[in-house]
């Protein structure tokens, strides 16, 4: 079975979710492009969008229509060539409408798992629950006559375990997109011990056609991305705990968020990132990682405390940020949750004490001015050398944070999660949009 045949019948499990919808979109676009090649005339391409509720699937179809339209508008120059033999399609608008229709017509929404039984390729993006994944994979393996391949988007569960428990005999690979898949360039590809080479070959070809940057990761729970992110969370919450002797909890959270955002020149602070991913998701990933790594404490009481009070974060259907540990107005952080009072304390009430304590510091350039700046290297060097030479509370916290982030990165290589430091940096640069990789010498 060649590349195109493999993609003639695909299923996405968890298709209406944040990750599933993006995977579905990218795959549907790739399949529509294949179906429009002259050589493939008459061949049928189907992608089953499988999820639990009709309501979610209806929202998914709206999302897909809007995204397919955007994609068509962007590649109108190429699409005119694709449809050049159709005399009825003359104006750009006609060609764009036709392409959207062609993309949507490969997608079959379904709430029934049986829909996956004809597929040659299964993308899995359901919740991070090993038992559930194994159950579904086993069901499909037993009932699908095509011996399909399984691409799992898990960000924490070892692929080898899923392979073994679902008896897939190496027909599985970790193919971990970053959120949102339609935008983020990174894919972590994780081969389990028994993953078949042809599965890996296909994965790399598919990633290339989607114009993704591939970073291979070893099959260790959490892989590179969450391997770094989760330990970053633990560092921040540990620091928050230490700050409690002098600060209220909201003050301490605000301080660490500011350090990790502005002082470290990152796109968002650590607590904002937790809200973005979801407090519940982060907590769950930690517990999954913990179950595979007994010699390290991978548990965050602060997240538990928030979750117990119903603080979850995550996004609304339109992609805007829900309130979580932090409160947001028009995408900006305006408050911090106080578990004692069970309400948000406004940032304006925290500013005075925290900023005073952080000490006199020049303000660094914001991340967005640095990330694409050709003079980025110089800006970062000069900023961090300033941090290094300043003895203030804020500068010292920044130093500690940056050095811990570096240590985590180096450890991922020592622990043989990542093949090298460059891969760790690539993940943080492309998957987390950082302006620089964690393994650097700015603070050494």
């Amino acid at each position: 079975m060649n590349y195109e045949e493999r993609l003639q019948n695909v299923s996405v499990l968890g298709a209406a979710g944040k990750m599933g919808s993006g995977i579905l979109l990218l795959t549907a676009l790739e399949m529509a492009d294949l179906s429009l090649k002259p050589d493939n005339k008459g061949k049928k391409f189907v992608i089953n969008a499988i999820d639990v509720s009709d309501e979610a699937l209806s929202g998914l179809m709206k999302y897909l229509r809007a995204q397919a339209l955007k994609a068509a508008e962007k590649k109108i120059v190429a699409l005119r060539q694709v449809y050049k033999d159709n005399p009825a399609l003359i104006e750009n608008s006609e060609i764009i409408d036709q392409y959207v229709l062609d993309v949507l017509s490969v997608i079959k929404p379904s709430t029934r798992m049986e829909s996956a039984l004809d597929s040659m390729l299964i993308f899995e993006a359901i919740k991070e629950d090993p038992a559930l994944k194994v159950k579904i994979f086993s069901y499909i393996r037993e009932n699908n006559p095509n011996t399909p391949w399984f691409f799992t988007n898990t960000s924490s569960i070892p692929i080898g375990e899923l392979d073994e428990k679902a008896k897939l005999e190496g027909r599985i690979i970790g193919f971990h997109f970053y959120n949102p898949p339609a935008i983020q360039k990174l894919v972590e590809v994780i081969n389990a011990k028994n993953t078949l080479p042809e599965v890996n070959e296909f994965a790399l070809a598919y990633a290339k056609n989607l114009r993704k940057v591939v970073v291979p990761s070893n099959d260790v729970a959490g892989f590179i991305g969450n391997g770094h992110f989760m330990r970053d969370i633990l560092h921040a919450s540990g620091e928050v705990e230490k700050l409690r002797s002098n600060f209220s909890l909201p003050e301490a959270i605000y301080a660490m968020n500011k350090i990790s955002h502005e002082y470290l020149i990152r796109p968002m602070g650590i607590f904002q990132l937790i809200d973005y991913v979801g407090v519940d998701v982060c907590s769950y990933i930690l517990s999954v990682m913990q179950s595979y790594k007994k010699d390290e404490k991978l548990h965050c009481p602060l997240l538990d405390q928030m979750l117990a009070l119903g603080i979850k974060g995550g996004q609304f259907a339109d992609g805007s940020q829900k309130d979580g540990i932090l409160k947001y107005e028009k995408g900006k952080v305006t408050g911090v949750f106080d578990p004692g009072k069970k309400e948000y304390v406004m940032v304006s009430a925290l500013l005075g004490k925290v900023d005073g304590a952080l000490g006199q510091m020049p303000v660094p350039q914001p991340w967005k001015n640095v990330v694409g700046n050709p003079g980025k290297e110089e800006i970062l060097k000069s900023w961090f050398s300033e941090i290094k030479n300043t003895d203030s509370f804020g500068a010292n916290m920044t130093k500690a944070y940056g050095l811990r982030s570096r240590e985590i990165g180096v450890q991922l290589v020592t622990d043989k999660v990542a093949f090298n430091e460059k891969d760790v940096n690539t993940v943080l640069l492309t998957g987390f949009f950082h302006a620089y990789g964690p393994v650097n010498d700015y603070l050494m």
């Binding site: 120059v77 005399p87 104006e91």
Partner: protein, 407 residues
């Protein structure tokens, strides 16, 4: 001609422009420009006829029958004759010529001429569909997604091939630099807020055929603009009626029109032969030669059109346009300043208004009212010239102007 008025040319580049924010529509632009001119000529009571130039509001704004907006501009225009004319991007000058012909035919002493276009209602790839109507629709299927950029990219490619890419590419970048620097001197210009330091380096960007056309980059293209311009075409009698002194007016010394066959591809893509014909007609009609002209407003819908127009004007031999530009002749301090408020690249290109904007700029330059953009007008070269083009060198109008004098 007297009493020129330009609205701001609105679109990307202006600080106040945001595609997501609500913006003025056709009505507001027509009203602002129309009233601007009416105020200067003593009100609607002095107007005999009205002409509105608009390319294609029927698609950008789902609005036709624009002549019906004159009484909306001013109640005093109700019941007066009005007409709408169209000749794609050459619409504005066609509207002027319509007014001129009325005055020559002595059916009117004062004609209010307004041009308008509001194009930021759709995204670029859909705007390209709409603007493609300036070409033959039967060519649309085989044309580029960005149809007109594609047409002029082909001209640029042919010119590169025939006369060398390096020199020509540098001249295109210089053209862009001159346009932006001139626009920075004119508060209504779309590029008025442009602060880029090294404009020529920016304009040397390699074309991106995957996303755009083969031989031109985005800096080679005129703007997508919303805007309106207005002016009054008056007879000597009409001028007296408005009470405006002659030296605040420009006299129309001559004009030339020429039409190319919309169904035919250019014989030689490196030549704008219809443009050349229109300029020749205009200069003959005026009884002057190009060396008597101090400044010109020419139709640089693309930088390459600027190069080709320099040759069509007879300022440089065929193949030498790039040298003429690179020697600095067309810059504001050069021998023959062109597009002194930025032209279509720098000031903007609200298609139906462009020909009128050109006339307003010449009026301002010749009467010393161009503000920061003012250039000196030598006594031995007292003329100004405009060249407005519809389609790919199809509908052409060139007009020769001179400052009015009390006799």
């Amino acid at each position: 001609m007297v009493a020129g008025y330009n609205t701001i040319s609105m679109g990307t580049g202006r600080k106040e422009f945001s595609p997501k924010k609500e913006r003025p529509g056709l009505e507001e632009y027509l009203k602002e420009a129309g009233q601007g001119t009416l105020k200067m000529i003593g009100g609607a009571g002095n107007v005999d006829e009205c002409v509105v130039g608009n390319f294609i509001a029927s698609r950008f704004n789902k609005q036709a029958n624009l002549a019906g907006f004159f009484p909306f501009i001013d109640e005093g225009l109700k019941g007066k004759p009005a007409i709408r004319v169209e000749g794609a991007c050459g619409t504005g000058a066609l509207a002027l010529v319509t007014g001129i012909r009325s005055v020559l035919a002595e059916t009117a002493e004062v004609v209010l001429v307004v041009g308008v276009e509001v194009q930021n209602t759709v995204k670029a790839m859909y705007g390209a569909d709409i603007l493609a109507a300036a070409g033959w629709f039967k060519d649309r299927k085989e044309g580029h997604a960005y149809f007109f950029p594609g047409q002029f990219s082909d001209r640029a490619g042919a010119y590169f091939e025939k006369f060398g890419r390096d020199k020509t590419r540098k001249a295109l970048a210089r053209w862009y630099k001159n346009a932006i620097e001139n626009a920075r001197l004119c508060p209504t210009a779309q590029e008025f807020h442009n602060t880029t330091k090294d404009l020529e380096a920016l304009a040397m960007a390699e074309p991106n055929p995957r996303g755009f056309v083969d031989y031109l980059n985005v800096f080679d293209c005129s703007k997508v603009s919303d805007g309106a311009s207005a002016i009054a075409v008056v007879s000597e009698e009409g001028l007296k009626r408005t009470g405006i002194p002659k030296e605040q007016a420009v006299e129309i010394i001559g004009f030339g029109q020429a039409e190319g066959d919309i169904t035919k591809k250019p014989d030689d893509p490196t030549v704008l032969d219809t443009s050349r014909q229109a300029v020749k007609n205009a200069l003959e009609s005026a009884g002057i030669t190009i060396d008597k002209v101090a400044t010109a407003e020419i139709h640089d819908c693309f930088t390459i059109a600027g190069v080709l127009a320099v040759e069509a004007l007879g300022l440089a031999e065929h193949g030498k346009g790039p040298d003429y530009i690179l020697e600095g002749n067309t810059a504001r301090d050069g021998k023959f300043p062109i597009n002194t408020t930025g032209g279509l690249i720098g000031w903007g290109h609200p298609t139906g208004a462009t020909g009128i904007h050109q006339a307003v700029t010449i009026l301002e330059q010749l009467t010393g009212k161009a503000g920061d953009a003012q250039i000196p007008i030598p006594a031995d070269r007292p003329y100004g010239l405009t060249l407005n083009m519809g389609g790919n060198d199809k509908t052409l109008v060139s007009i020769v102007y001179k400052r009015g004098k009390n006799s």
